[in-house]
């Protein structure tokens, strides 16, 4: 299948350059957000080019220079950029061998390559990559069918390596956007309304003694800037005190979970993973031969990305040109949206990626870029570093939507699932600043809605793609008969939402994997056997068995519970099974003791990187599952720091064993989001095993456990 990134950027020079010094520069459109894509690309390039990984550089991702590969999201980077770089470097290898054969006067098959040196076996004459192509363009297209290396000869791909840049991260020398310093640079902070719908009624300038600080005001967008960061912070506090906001009606109140299934909504049937514009079929009566029919409703609250470093951007406006340094996941789409918001031509904006703290999806990164640009535009010639505060990030980032999942299924006596219904309800997961014209990109950037000439937030439309948004991983990988799947995009919900790691998959898999255990119990069947009974995909069965065997290697300690969850992310990426062992203590706290992860990510490139994604995904999902819920009232968000929005700490971290299946030669399968959903199912099932309590509303706090115990 042709690689889409290569179709869009077909020339080898768009992907690869060899310097006069022999260093190899790899270009990619994917940004490294701590998930080690740059390490994986290095290993792929080193392998195909037979060059030491230390001689490979990964280019900074910048508009007009980097290949446009859309957004770094959806666990797509290896399948898109990884595959593109493999084909590009394989093309380069073939080209360099042909050049060398001509220069050395021998046949290509008489040549060996050792660390960028091409040697003729018989004569010992040699020539380097730098001598052949250093500092010169290749001037050829990438050959999508170029022969790539035989996995049997791999020296780099699949090995355990230190992640690219790890020493800089650990040594404190890595430069995040937050750390950039430029001559004449201003620091800036935004002064926010009390909630989404408030507007700036009055600004009492007399109350605000400026003392070298500049105010930027455009409608209800209010910011303060100055050369000293602490003075700016204090200035922002004084400016906030000088502002009077019209609070309007505030946030809509009412029972969130009731509203999720009662509000006006767009309902669409989902067929084989994709919604269709047809009437939703009624839930049929259970089949006549059903031995068991069961139903359950599961709920998840709003959660936040919760980056450890609040979003930041650096912007400079000079001679009509805006340059922005950002940790956005999509430099090209951000540029389009900013052009609309700033009413500037796209060509006048340059967007350069610089690292940020982990984002886990669409957090404040894009919004802060526009904030910084607005302040920079008011201060021409001066670089402006604008940082969101902890309060900004907690209260203003686009959350992942609350969801409700309603499931019903019927089993025959053998454990065959005869009928299956899964309805999911929620707000949008897709509000990244992607423009489809008519200022739709600007509408997705926070500040645009507060300007004097505002761009109102868009009305969400249902995502119609395969396994997108609300219906991601709603379609079971299991071979259930008579599937009825429905997505419901719900209107009138209170909070701003967009894409967070896994989109709807975490909630859907939590529901699906909890429900299978419930079905097994109702039918008197073993939950693992029930899963395997309804699977045809051997790779799925392999990870389930590997995980289950390792989880139950030893006898379960008294009072502990074990639970299991499985999914193949989007039914097309990494297969992942998670087994977990928990106990519930006298304070009704869930304690995580041991975790086993088995994953099949196709051919393994960055072995330890995949393991890190599996482990990190489980721990983050454990945090969502046990602790997290964005809270709010009419006056606004009340989860505004780490005390009011607690997350997982070191005192509840299980031992983790990660098993990776070996699939040399198989296509890469994206791994960054695979373990989250299975982890949630596993924890719910383990709590049931430990306590007999079936919890269906996240998070599983001590209050939730007590409430279930006394129900």
């Amino acid at each position: 299948m042709p690689n889409g990134s290569l179709v869009k950027q077909p020339n080898l020079d768009q992907w690869l350059a060899i310097g006069a010094d022999g260093r190899v520069l790899v270009r990619t459109g994917k940004v490294d957000i701590g998930q080690r894509i740059s390490t994986a690309l290095t290993l792929i390039a080193a392998e195909e080019l037979d060059i030491d990984p230390t001689r490979i550089d990964i280019a900074a991702v910048e508009t007009d220079v980097a290949p446009d590969e859309g957004v770094t999201s959806g666990s797509n980077s290896m399948e898109e950029s990884g595959d593109a770089v493999r084909r590009a470097t394989a093309t380069a290898r073939k080209h360099l061998l042909a050049l060398a054969a001509r220069q050395l006067g021998v046949a290509e098959d008489a040549l060996d390559i050792v660390d960028g040196l091409i040697r003729a076996r018989a004569t010992n004459r040699s020539i380097t990559y730098a001598e052949l192509a250093g500092g010169k363009p290749f001037g050829i297209p990438v050959d999508q069918t170029a022969k790539t290396k035989d996995p049997k000869s791999f020296k780099h791909v699949g090995t355990r390596v230190t992640a690219r840049g790890m020493a800089d991260l650990v040594g404190g020398s890595a430069k995040y956007v937050h750390d950039m310093q430029m001559p004449g640079m201003l620091h800036a902070r935004v002064v926010r309304p009390p909630h989404y719908h408030a507007t700036l009624a009055k600004l009492d300038d007399a109350k605000f003694k400026s003392a070298g600080l500049g105010i930027v005001r455009d409608g209800s967008f209010l910011a303060v800037a100055g050369p000293d960061e602490y003075a700016v912070l204090k200035g922002a506090e004084r400016l906030a005190a000088a502002a009077t906001w019209d609070r309007g009606k505030g946030l809509p109140e009412g029972d969130l979970f009731k509203n999720l299934t009662a509000n006006e909504r767009v309902s669409l049937p989902v067929i084989k993973g994709s919604p269709v514009k047809e009437a939703v079929p009624a839930l049929p009566a259970p089949p006549a031969n059903a031995a068991v029919t069961h139903q359950a409703r599961y709920e998840r609250p709003y959660n936040m990305h919760g980056t450890i470093g609040p979003s930041a951007a650096l912007a400079k406006f000079e001679n009509g040109q805006m340059t922005v340094w950002t940790h956005s996941q999509g430099i090209y789409v951000l540029r389009e949206a900013m052009a609309e918001a700033l009413d500037m031509p796209i060509e006048a904006i340059r967007v350069i990626h610089a690292i940020g703290a982990g984002c886990y999806g669409h957090n404040g990164a894009d919004d802060v870029a526009l904030d910084a640009a607005l302040v920079a535009r008011a201060n021409p010639g001066k670089p402006v570093l604008l940082k969101w505060t902890r309060d900004d990030e907690h209260a203003w980032e686009p959350y992942t939507t609350a969801m409700v999942m309603e499931l019903q299924a019927s089993l025959d006596a053998s454990g065959k699932v005869l009928a299956w219904s899964h309805e999911s309800y929620g707000d949008t997961h897709n509000m990244r600043p992607r423009s489809t014209g008519n200022k739709s990109g600007a509408a997705r950037l926070l500040a645009a809605r507060y300007l004097a000439d505002p761009v109102p937030p868009p009305v969400a439309t249902p995502s119609m793609g395969h396994h997108v948004g609300i219906h991601r991983n709603q379609e079971p990988l299991y071979t259930f008969d008579n599937q009825r799947l429905v997505k419901n995009l719900v209107r009138g919900l209170p909070l701003r939402t967009s894409a967070m790691r896994t989109l709807g998959a975490y909630a859907n898999v939590f529901a699906l994997e909890s429900f299978i255990d419930e079905l097994a119990e109702a039918g008197g069947l073993d939950p693992i056997a029930l899963r395997i009974r309804n699977l045809a995909d051997q790779r799925a069965i392999d990870v389930i068995e590997a995980c289950n065997t390792a989880l139950n290697r030893d006898k379960k300690p008294a009072g502990y519970g074990r639970g299991f969850g499985f999914a193949r992310y989007k039914n097309q990426k990494t297969y992942c099974a998670v087994g977990i062992e928990v106990s519930v203590n006298d304070a009704a706290e869930v304690k995580l003791h041991r975790c086993v992860i088995a994953a099949d990510a196709g051919e393994i490139v960055d072995r330890d990187g995949i393991a890190a994604q599996m482990e990190g995904g489980v721990l983050q999902a454990a945090s969502w599952t046990l602790y997290e819920e964005v809270k709010y009232d009419r006056d606004g968000i009340t989860s505004r720091d780490w005390d009011s929005y607690p997350i997982l700490r070191f005192d509840n971290v299980p031992e983790i064993e990660t098993i990776l299946m070996e699939r040399p030669g198989a296509p890469f399968l994206g791994a960054g989001e695979a373990s989250s959903g299975p982890a949630a199912g596993a924890i719910a099932n383990a709590i049931k095993d430990a306590t007999g309590l079936r919890l269906r509303r996240l998070p599983f706090t001590p209050e939730a456990i007590r409430a279930a115990a006394y129900r």
Partner: protein, 155 residues
């Protein structure tokens, strides 16, 4: 006001509003941007540095409170025997993803192992429980600590 700060082995005379939290002086006046601002509320541990060998949060405490103390930031740990061992262990275990919480973690672990060369798991948890990591590198950080302890006891 002038404050005397000893940072990473060098004495600095700093002109600053005495109410300025230490982190802004370290980052903006001394260029030590390895020290990370995470919350500004003493809730997440990202801004941890060492002062007279103890771990301290630098995001709220003012620069004037550190007059005369010996501060070591993540940048100074490379020249610190134990600190550099902790850094090597973090690298060996790939104990970071985005790395934003890492300088605070490394500083905390260095302070812990300075005081307790062979800490128990509960002691490690107690030391690290004020540090948040969102990427989920926790188990690797435990392993990095075990690695340093093993290295030091074999030395």
């Amino acid at each position: 006001m002038t404050v005397t700060l000893h940072v990473n082995g060098t004495e600095h005379k700093i002109e600053a509003d005495p109410a300025t939290p230490l982190i802004f002086v370290l980052r903006n006046q001394l260029g030590l941007t390895g020290v990370k601002l995470g919350c500004g509320l003493e809730q997440c541990g990202a801004c941890t540095v060492m002062a007279d060998g103890q771990s301290v949060l630098s995001c709220v405490k003012t620069v004037s409170e550190f007059n005369g103390t010996k501060i070591v930031t993540i940048e100074g740990l490379a020249a610190h025997a134990l600190g550099s061992a902790v850094q090597r262990a973090f690298v060996a275990e790939n104990a970071a993803q985005c790395g934003y919480c890492t300088p605070g973690m490394v500083s905390e672990v260095t302070a812990l192992l300075s005081a307790k060369p062979k800490p128990s798991r509960p002691e490690i948890i107690e030391a690290l429980n004020g540090h948040l990591c969102r990427c989920g590198s926790h188990t690797r950080i435990f392993k990095a600590i075990e690695r340093v302890v093993a290295e030091k006891s074999n030395a």
